[in-house]
């Protein structure tokens, strides 16, 4: 009796194990197919990249660029006399001020600046009022003429 139960139990475990193995196997196949597909996609992409690189090489060929430049541009090859270096630049203008002392002219300009002065490029601080003030003399001037 005990043997019969054990046998049934073992058969049940066997069926379960077989089902589990089948599932694993099936999943593995699916994964393998995915892998193969991705690999072939990668290969295809690589081939495309190679073809594009070859095409870029053809388009970037100096002979082609030179022909295009000759046809469309006014530029000429650089002569050796057209190069400059930093030591060929003129001397820095001499500094008369002692370090730490403020520039007197700069200070004067700063003091000169009055925020109230309205010029063509400096708008009045209050846009609404200044617009009215500016418009009135202009209208008056127009009326005089």
């Amino acid at each position: 009796m005990i043997f019969r139960i054990l046998n049934l139990l073992v058969i049940g475990v066997l069926v379960l194990a077989a089902a589990y193995v089948y599932r694993i196997k099936f999943d593995a196949t699916v994964q393998a197919e995915r892998l193969a597909k991705i690999r072939s996609e990668v290969r295809h992409e690589r081939d495309t990249i190679a073809a594009l690189r070859a095409e870029w090489g053809e388009l970037d060929n100096p002979a082609r660029i030179e022909a295009l430049a000759k046809r469309h541009l006014q530029l000429k090859p650089t002569a050796s006399t057209q190069f400059g270096s930093f030591d060929q630049l003129p001397e820095h203008p001499p500094q008369f001020l002692m370090p730490g002392v403020a520039d007197p002219i700069g200070v004067m300009i700063e003091n000169l600046e009055e925020p109230e002065t309205v010029t063509g490029s400096v708008p009045a601080p209050d846009a609404a009022s200044s617009a009215g003030e500016a418009a009135a003399p202009a209208a008056a001037a127009a009326a005089d003429q």
Partner: protein, 583 residues
């Protein structure tokens, strides 16, 4: 025991025939029951083994197919012939693989040959109908119908749905720059095997073995970087092409060599060919003259002669040689082209390119020393580089005084121009002979390979002479402002039918830039230039190779990163003074 008693008891009752049979089959005193048990055991063992094998095989089938599936994708790889890309020193593509479909047929699976031929020739008009029919009617399992078809043709043929016709994608080598770098990279045949230039070198270095093993299917191979700079190569080629048409020359060639590493930055031998169209390469006028041709280099060899004389210590820059009269040797007279009819100092011999002076300087050192010096500079042996093509120099079999006299001014010894450039680079870079290479090389690697052949002081004196020759000598037309070029011209009479021609010459110009801190050596060589009105009827180097050299330098120097310096003093003050100081 009972059984034996039972068996033994009826024994005598057996008829004699059966007893004889039993004796023959089992032997007389054998226990048949034990025998039967052993047999059953053996049968169990055999069956167990068979089931084990079946089980093991099942496990194998479960494990192995995964990798197989992955390898045989739907890509339809034909032949494992992938090649690594070839790049220039800045990473521009010089050669790459492109996948192209090829059309094949399986004659056994073709149902109606006539229909297949008709449809295919309609779609691919350049297929020969009778040849196609013959191929498809054969008994073979696989025939190529057309290699390298376009994707559109592939689509059209695919739509026809012919049984037994298929496509395989193959690697095709593509050279996007056409003829620009042809002689350096070489080309491949239809099966993607390298047959010339660096392509062949690649095959010789393991790629052929990979192809044989069928492993070179993928693109994972690391690209090969060459020393060539495509921009410099183009500038050099462009100038040489226009020079060749201007002077109606047979050929024009040029090399730019890095004197510190021995890298060949540019090499052009015009006429060249398009590696995408390799049958042009069979034309013998399109050979690479710089490595496969040998030439008498003319007066540029005086650089070697004077370097030898100065290096020996027997001659100094202040020495002078008698050039008042032509040098008489046996029945030969050695003349000067720019004859001065006076005693010339060593710098004057160089700048006036005096044959007499060079010959006397060589004689002062001696025949054996001359030969040994040229041997040391690698001018007498075949120069081997990565390129499979190379030529042996033509050295006189018996080297007497007359040979030394003529070789002193560059006649009577034919060398490959690349070889001469290597020698001149050694004279310029402080006296280290570095074998030229077409691959990238660092200065440290070059220093390990290099061999000191002349003293550094001699090298400095040679640079002084080279610069002097551009300031006031035969190479004045190459003096591009700011690059401090030094150079030596050469004009060699060509040998036609065993005699020196009076009219046909080969001119060359060997330049170093800049002469005070040498970085590159440039060779310009023009084969059989014609006189033009603007050259005043001259065909010597100073009128053709030198101006071309100047034009090339002004174009390539900015590309090579040489900064123009416009306020340099003349060679007397800059180089000569530093020689005096170092003493």
């Amino acid at each position: 025991m009972t059984t034996t008693a039972q068996e033994t008891a009826p024994l005598p009752a057996e008829p004699w025939r059966r007893r004889l049979l039993r004796g023959l089959l089992y032997g007389n005193n054998i226990d048949r029951a034990a025998k039967a048990r052993a047999r059953v055991g053996l049968a169990i063992l055999v069956f167990a083994a068979v089931y084990c094998i079946i089980a093991a095989r099942l496990v194998m089938f479960a494990v192995i197919p995964d990798s197989r599936v992955a390898r045989h994708g739907p890509s339809g790889d034909a032949i494992a012939t992938a090649r690594p890309d070839i790049l220039d020193r800045r990473g521009e593509v010089l050669a790459t693989d492109v996948r192209v479909p090829s059309l094949y047929g399986e004659p056994r699976h073709i149902i109606d040959v006539d229909e297949a031929v008709e449809l295919l020739t309609a779609q691919l008009p350049d297929l020969d109908a009778s040849e196609l029919r013959e191929r498809l009617s054969s008994k073979r399992g696989f025939v190529w119908l057309k290699r390298e078809i376009t994707p559109k043709q592939q689509k059209d043929v695919y739509r026809m749905g012919l049984p037994g016709i298929g496509f395989l994608s193959e690697n095709k080598r593509d050279y996007p720059n056409g003829a620009e770098v042809s002689h350096v990279i070489g080309h491949v045949n239809i099966d993607n095997q390298g047959i010339a230039g660096m392509e062949k070198w690649l095959d010789g270095h393991g790629l052929a073995a990979l192809h044989m093993a069928g492993l070179a299917t993928d693109r994972l191979q690391t690209p090969v970087e060459l020393a060539v700079d495509l921009r410099v190569q183009h500038a050099l080629r462009d100038e040489l092409v226009s020079a060749r048409t201007k002077f109606k020359a047979l050929a024009a060639a040029g090399i730019v060599l890095d004197v510190r590493t021995g890298e060949v930055v540019a090499m052009v031998s015009e006429p060249d060919y398009d590696p995408n169209n390799p049958h042009q390469a069979l034309d013998p006028t399109r050979i690479n003259r710089l490595t496969t041709g040998v030439f008498e280099m003319g007066s540029t060899f005086k650089a070697f002669t004077l370097a030898m004389a100065l290096d020996s210590g027997k001659v100094t820059l202040k020495s002078s040689f008698d050039a008042r009269m032509p040098l008489r040797f046996g029945k030969f007279d050695i003349h000067d082209f720019h004859a001065q009819h006076r005693v010339l100092t060593v710098p004057e011999i160089f700048t006036y390119s005096s044959n007499i002076g060079a010959a006397r300087a060589a004689l002062a050192v001696g025949v054996e020393a001359h030969k040994a010096f040229l041997k040391k500079l690698g001018q007498l042996d075949r120069l081997r580089t990565e390129l499979p093509e190379s030529a042996e120099p033509i050295v006189p079999k018996r080297w007497g005084e007359l040979n030394t006299i003529t070789i002193a001014f560059g006649h009577g010894l034919s060398v490959a121009p690349l070889q001469a450039v290597m020698g001149v680079a050694a004279l310029m870079n402080g006296g280290v002979l570095i074998p030229p290479t077409f691959l990238r090389r660092t200065e440290a690697e070059a220093a390990a390979l290099g061999k000191q052949v002349i003293k550094p002081q001699t090298s400095e004196m040679m640079r002084y002479l080279m610069r002097l020759n551009v300031e006031k000598g035969t190479a004045e037309k190459a003096d591009v402002r700011g690059y401090y070029i030094g150079g030596k011209t050469g004009t060699a009479d060509k040998v036609i039918n065993g005699h020196y021609s009076k009219t046909k010459v080969l001119t060359d110009f060997m330049a170093v830039m800049p002469a005070d801190q040498p970085r590159f050596v440039l060779l310009i060589m023009i084969d059989d230039p014609q006189a033009l009105p603007e050259t005043h009827g001259f065909t010597t180097s100073g009128w053709n190779a030198v101006p071309v050299g100047g034009a090339v330098v002004s174009r390539i120097a900015p590309l090579l990163g040489i900064e123009p310096r416009l306020d340099l003093p003349p060679a007397d003050q800059l180089i000569l003074a530093s020689i005096r100081e170092s003493r």
